[in-house]
Structures are given as structure tokens and as C-alpha cells.
């Protein structure tokens, strides 16, 4: 599968969809963090500034840092992004609790913005963003 934040043809539309989403605007208010998304060994950084995604960068360079990361094998992402996900894949925390996904780095920040992060997953399920 191809996850939208790793696909150069999809990241523009994904960024626009997220920034136009009313619930994300609420959940991400005050958020200014760089989030590393990992699918197996593929990576991208989603940069959020003042509640808006300012950049999605595929393949960050070795000297870049981030606030926290969300890391899972492709099989887990495939389940997380299903319209009706299977048990234990209803969100980042559920998948993490059952060890299908890891949140790396600053867990406190990740949990502070869990609502916004889960909303990103929801938007990635929408038509055109899959």
C-alpha cells in the first residue's frame, strides 16, 4: 500500500484537506510540532505551525529532528487507514497499546495532541486521500 504522506502526488491534496478540516483546526490549535511518520523504513515529516500543516517532507535528511514519531509496519498502517478498521486499530493509542505501532520520542507531546493526530488519520481515509 502507499500511505498518502509518503506519496509525492498526494501530499499537496492531503495537506490542503487537513488544513481545511474544521475539526483539525480545533484539535490542532496551538500545535507547532514536527511529527515523523514512518512506514517500515520510509519516512516523512509533517510540520505543523500554529495549527496548520506548513510542510510535508518526504525522506527527511539525516540532520533533521522532530518532536515525536509515529512508527508502524505497512501492515499496521493498512489496518489503521481502513474505513472501518479492525479491532485494536481504531486509533493511534489503541494500536500502540496492543503493540501494532510505536510512538517514539516525546510521548507527552504526542498525547497532548492525540485528538489532532487521530483526525489526520480520519482525513487520510477520505476519498482522494487514501
Amino acid at each position: 500500500m502507499t500511505v498518502a504522506f509518503l506519496d509525492p502526488l498526494k501530499i499537496g491534496r492531503l495537506r490542503q484537506s487537513i488544513n481545511q478540516d474544521a475539526e483539525f483546526k480545533l484539535a490542532a490549535r496551538y500545535m507547532s510540532e514536527d511529527v515523523l511518520f514512518e512506514v517500515d523504513k520510509a519516512r516523512s515529516i509533517v510540520r505543523v505551525r500554529n495549527g496548520e500543516i506548513s510542510e510535508i517532507k518526504i525522506g527527511p535528511s539525516p540532520d533533521e529532528s522532530w518532536s515525536f514519531g509515529i512508527s508502524a509496519p505497512a501492515a499496521s498502517w493498512e489496518k489503521l487507514l481502513q474505513q472501518i478498521p479492525p479491532p485494536f486499530f481504531t486509533g493511534l493509542n489503541a494500536a500502540m497499546m496492543r503493540r501494532h505501532l510505536q510512538i517514539t520520542g516525546n510521548l507527552e507531546l504526542a498525547f497532548a495532541y492525540l485528538w489532532a493526530l487521530n483526525r489526520i488519520l480520519d482525513i487520510m481515509k477520505q476519498p482522494g486521500n487514501e
Binding site: P85, P87, T90, G91, N93, A94, M97, F111, W115
Partner: protein
């Protein structure tokens, strides 16, 4: 004409360990008393659909308390509760339910509880089997470790974490408003309450190796678990039931950790056979 529910709310005063508590409860119906225990960090509002279901209230007197420190049951007046960390202990939880039963003069009520209430169903069956007619444990198991994480009561994490976290605990195809309502109620509890309740849920409640002592000829035990529950998983619940001779286990497809609140109409399909069976017991 005003649109009114038949549910009424009242307060009762009861004493546990020498401390008096003013306890809020709601009730509706006539028949066998059915004591309903809410989940950790929440309150009795999550039973509102059951309280308003005539099919249940025609046979059962449904009684839903808010535990002290939860919902409309304020902390006690005689204790400097702000000087100590809030922790729900197993002995308090058991004694509170039994005292409430006595306070309301309930004769062998049935008990139903969800999550920590589901765990309590097992503790009551083991420790107070003659007080209750039957116990129904929803989303409970013999041992549910690992949930009392610091992030549920941390000065730098807001109630929005609970709002998002508990939403994930529901099944994805359920009514969206109900799923959000669960998170809404969770985000309203006082900061230490959820984690303090999880002290019981994840630490004090541990029936490993003790389930064989539950005598279902004295107190029937029903365990029901939602397919999507990642805290007390169907496998944990099934394993628990398998160690209690005579216990009945039901997997609830399409439901998560909050069956009574997240999708009552679907939950009811699993609940009514149990309630009908209990109603027909001598």
C-alpha cells in the same frame, strides 16, 4: 407539554469506613433491582439509554449511582481530600456498593458493571456472593494491568487527551454522536479521578488464580465483551470466563469498551437474553 423522562435523580447519605458520602443516583422502573456501575473516570450518565428502556424498566428497577468524586457525587465534607492523591481501592469499591444496597434497602439486586464495574462484578461474586442475585460483567477480566498511566493525570495534558483516547475505545461503526459523548463525559471528570480509578482497575483488582473459588450456584456470573475492546480484550474476557465453572461468556460483535453508551440498540441484543434469564431465576 413538557417532554420529560421517567428517570428521577436523588441523593442518599451513606457511610463507608467512617466517612459519610452524599451519593447521587438515578433510577427508573419497577421489579428486580438492577445496580449499574459506571466505568473508571466517568459517571452514571453512560447508563441513560438503559434507564429509559421500557423493555428493561418494566421488569427491573434500574439504579445508577455516581461513585463519590464522580458526576454529581461530590467529595466528602469531612475529609481534606485535596491533601491526598485520589485512589479507588478494592475494599472501598466493594463496601460502597454493598452499603448502597443496604441504604436503599434493596433485596438481592442484580449487578451490572462496565470496565472497572465489570472487574467489580467478579470481585463481588467472589467476596459477597450472597448479597446479589447475579452479576453481569461488561468489559471485565481477572486482571487488567497497565492502564494507570501518568498521562491520565498530568498537569501538562488537558482533558482533550481523554476525549480522544476514549473515543478510540469505541467500535468504529457505532453512532458518531454516542461515541463523541463518551469522550465528552470523560473530559469532564476532575483531573485525578480517571487515573485514581485505574488504581483499582489495573493494580488492586487481580484475581489471577482465584477464579475457581467463584461459586456460580450461589451467584450466576455473566461476562460480555465487545469485539473492539483493546483494554479488556475478548481473549482476556473469554479466558476469565473459562476459569469460572458455570460462567457464561458472550462476545459482542461490533461493540467496544462502552457497549451500553456507544451503541445501546446493538448492545441490547446481547443484554436482553441475560436480563430475561436473570428475571426468570427464583
Amino acid at each position: 407539554m413538557a417532554k420529560l423522562e421517567a428517570v428521577i435523580g436523588r441523593y442518599c447519605y451513606l457511610t463507608v469506613d467512617g466517612v459519610e458520602y452524599r451519593v447521587y443516583f438515578e433510577e427508573n422502573g419497577r421489579g428486580i433491582p438492577l445496580l449499574c456501575q459506571h466505568t473508571a473516570g466517568s459517571d452514571g450518565r453512560q447508563w441513560r439509554h438503559l434507564l429509559n428502556d421500557p423493555e428493561v424498566t418494566s421488569k427491573y428497577r434500574v439504579i445508577v449511582p455516581d461513585l463519590p468524586y464522580h458526576g454529581k457525587s461530590l467529595p466528602p465534607q469531612s475529609v481534606d481530600w485535596w491533601k491526598a492523591e485520589y485512589k479507588l481501592t478494592k475494599s472501598f469499591f466493594i463496601d460502597f456498593l454493598v452499603e448502597l444496597k443496604h441504604c436503599l434497602e434493596l433485596k438481592r439486586p442484580a449487578f451490572i458493571g462496565c470496565s472497572m464495574g465489570g472487574n467489580l462484578a467478579l470481585d463481588l461474586a467472589l467476596e459477597r456472593p450472597d448479597e446479589f442475585k447475579a452479576v453481569i460483567g461488561l468489559e471485565g477480566a481477572d486482571y487488567t494491568p497497565g492502564l494507570d498511566i501518568i498521562w491520565f493525570n498530568h498537569p501538562r495534558i488537558s482533558g482533550e487527551f481523554k476525549f480522544a483516547n476514549l473515543y478510540e475505545s469505541t467500535a468504529p461503526a457505532g453512532p458518531e454522536n454516542n461515541r463523541r459523548e463518551i469522550g465528552w463525559v470523560y473530559s469532564q471528570s476532575a483531573p485525578p479521578v480517571f487515573r485514581g480509578d485505574l488504581y483499582y482497575y489495573s493494580r488492586e483488582h487481580n484475581l489471577t488464580g482465584q477464579l475457581g473459588r467463584i461459586d456460580t450456584s450461589r451467584i450466576p456470573v455473566y461476562l460480555l465483551c465487545g469485539e473492539y475492546d483493546f483494554a479488556s480484550t475478548p481473549e482476556m474476557c473469554r479466558r476469565t470466563a473459562s476459569q469460572i465453572k458455570g460462567a457464561k461468556y458472550t462476545l459482542m460483535e461490533g461493540l467496544g469498551h462502552f457497549p451500553v453508551a456507544e451503541n445501546y440498540q446493538l448492545f441490547k441484543r446481547y443484554l436482553m437474553p441475560v436480563l430475561n434469564e436473570i428475571a426468570n431465576m427464583r
